[in-house]
Symmetry: C2
């Protein structure tokens, strides 16, 4: 069982981060923020697939000015991503941004940071102190580094300034493109403050590599109870980031998003076409509206008698295959023998029954 | 930096596990072991993509008898997967298996286990004590469980028997289909013995879900230095398991398999088509023989000025994009400005130069 670190409660719009809130899922729009049609359409797609907080890049004043109208057209909280120019943050706050992300690596003047903190305080919105290995400064030089203590130092400098101004609506992130540095940095900061932590591995690459880096980095931290909100960064469609985030949280049992299929890798013992069966089952669940993913079940589909009965028994619905047929389990008991060609149909029947669909 | 747990050195054929050996990659054939043509062809495909140890299911005496001939036709060490019937292990050892996997959950009679240990000792091959949540017994009943202490107890019972027979050529695995239980179990056992640990999350499902569960479970343990050899279980082509295993080890810097691309997720700041560029670059690297994946480099391809220069600077080759063009970095220094259409060509040029290809 995962015992989560106790973090201060922060509200981002109507989404709670920290406290007893579930780990929330964030993503980021990847089109120009001032291109209203494109950005709203992308955010609506993200909302539809389960994104709970969305961020937009604020590169210039047109982007900052767009915040107000975007806010009117979307449902989930909107975060303004600010670099270099603190005035973009002020404009975004004016436009109704629900959170500001500031990068300590590229907004360094005390009075500029203070101006943003004052505005956020007045607007009652939080600020994420977003440190990134690509833009962190070492203490001695204008050089970037993946060293975790440089990431920490950068965050602590901002935290001290914020706290001096009695501003504690803070969320912290310490993303590195190196998985091990990312994990080390978050582990360190988790003991140094009680602010909620926004987890992510930065610049993790395209899907196949990025998902592995993110799952290890984000998942490895969550395993130890560290992390309150997550963003999977992938060079690709942001909807993939949300789906990957759901898979990470689901794998750890921290949240449930639809039914979970437990299936064995198969081996020379297997006497049914398990890969095809699992694929068909996934498709059937995915395309059937009335399987109620809001009432998630565990479905074990196992290829033989070694681990089949065991896994099938502890799942809500289980199927342990033998030669061309299998034993169908419901809540730990065998209810009948089923032919291979009927596996998917029978499981789907039990599934619909179990979730009380129409 | 990852500090690895010190594990006893065990040889599986010519592959060392534990000691100072790199974390090795295993997979399993998924066709009938007695179907010589199919099994050898699948193992050769696994060898070709980097599998270092391969396991086959031994369901019956025909499978056990096939070991001898399979051994003659493949290069990597061969492991016989034994359940229920200890005599299959004896036959596999006779056939020249390089390691035996025994499941304490389904071979429980002391004299039967002892017979296998004696034979392994004579043949000087190791035994993996392979506990699995689908077939572990609780101490009080014939019920399976995902409880990590049941997994541990099951392994310790075998370990005690093996040690009483002065047999210490042992590798241990404690796989659960639940990621958190898997991690907890391995963390516990890592302090209780010095035997090398074979990591895996069992029955993790098909590709997209299985890769996430495996990356968190296996990667989360490796982060803490736990684990000496890994097997990613996916309901799918075993070659995918090997590629996923490489990605996990690569992401943690424990091993390097080819060049690593660091690329940002892009956002509204990005003024080039980064997703397309990264895809083209991946394809170019993949299809060009002379980029020497045995001399792996880091290549950063970044979309803007926020983290672009920083990541490009620490990579071996870097490109930080601006509007329709970008700065090309080599070992931390900008060497020229490049137009967007030439990004891939220029990076590939530096890559071929750097690895000293023909």
């Amino acid at each position: 069982m995962i015992i989560r670190r106790k973090a201060r409660e922060i509200m981002v719009g109507d989404v709670k981060i920290g406290g007893d809130a579930p780990v929330s899922i964030q993503s980021m729009a990847k089109v120009k923020t001032s291109d209203m049609k494109a950005v709203v359409s992308q955010i609506k797609a993200l909302e539809a697939c389960g994104c709970e907080i969305v961020r937009v890049a604020v590169k210039n004043m047109s982007d900052a000015a767009a915040i107000k109208e975007i806010k009117r057209k979307i449902r989930i909280p909107l975060v303004a991503d600010i670099h270099f120019d603190y005035r973009l943050a002020l404009k975004a706050i004016e436009g109704g941004a629900d959170k500001i992300r500031l990068n300590p690596g590229n907004i360094r003047k005390r009075e500029e940071v203070a101006a943003v903190v004052r505005a956020a305080k007045r607007a009652r919105i939080p600020i994420r102190i977003g440190v990134n290995s690509g833009s962190v400064f070492t203490h001695d030089a204008r050089r970037t580094t993946h060293n975790e203590s440089a990431l920490i130092k950068s965050a602590l400098r901002y935290i001290k300034l914020f706290e001096e101004m009695e501003f504690r609506d803070i969320i912290v992130s310490l993303k590195s493109s190196d998985v091990v540095s990312t994990v080390e940095a978050y582990r360190m900061i988790s003991g140094l403050c009680d602010y909620p932590l926004h987890l992510g591995v930065t610049a993790s690459g395209s899907y196949d590599q990025g998902i592995v880096k993110s799952a290890i980095g984000i998942g490895g931290l969550l395993l130890d109870g560290i992390g309150d909100t997550i963003r999977v960064s992938l060079t690709g469609d942001p909807a993939e980031e949300v789906i990957a985030a759901k898979r990470i949280l689901g794998a750890l049992g921290l949240r449930k998003f639809g039914h979970e299929i437990i299936s064995c890798p198969t081996c020379g013992r297997c006497q049914v076409d398990l890969m095809k069966i699992v694929e068909q089952l996934e498709n059937a669940i995915h395309t059937t509206r009335d399987t109620r993913p809001d009432k998630p079940l565990t479905i074990a589909v196992m290829g033989c008698e070694v681990n089949g009965p065991g896994e099938a028994m502890v799942a809500d619905i289980g199927l342990a295959a033998g030669k061309g047929q299998g034993a169908l389990f419901k809540k730990g008991k065998i209810i009948k023998r089923v032919k291979e060609k009927d596996f998917v149909k029978e499981i789907m029947g039990l599934l619909k029954l179990a979730v009380g669909s129409r």
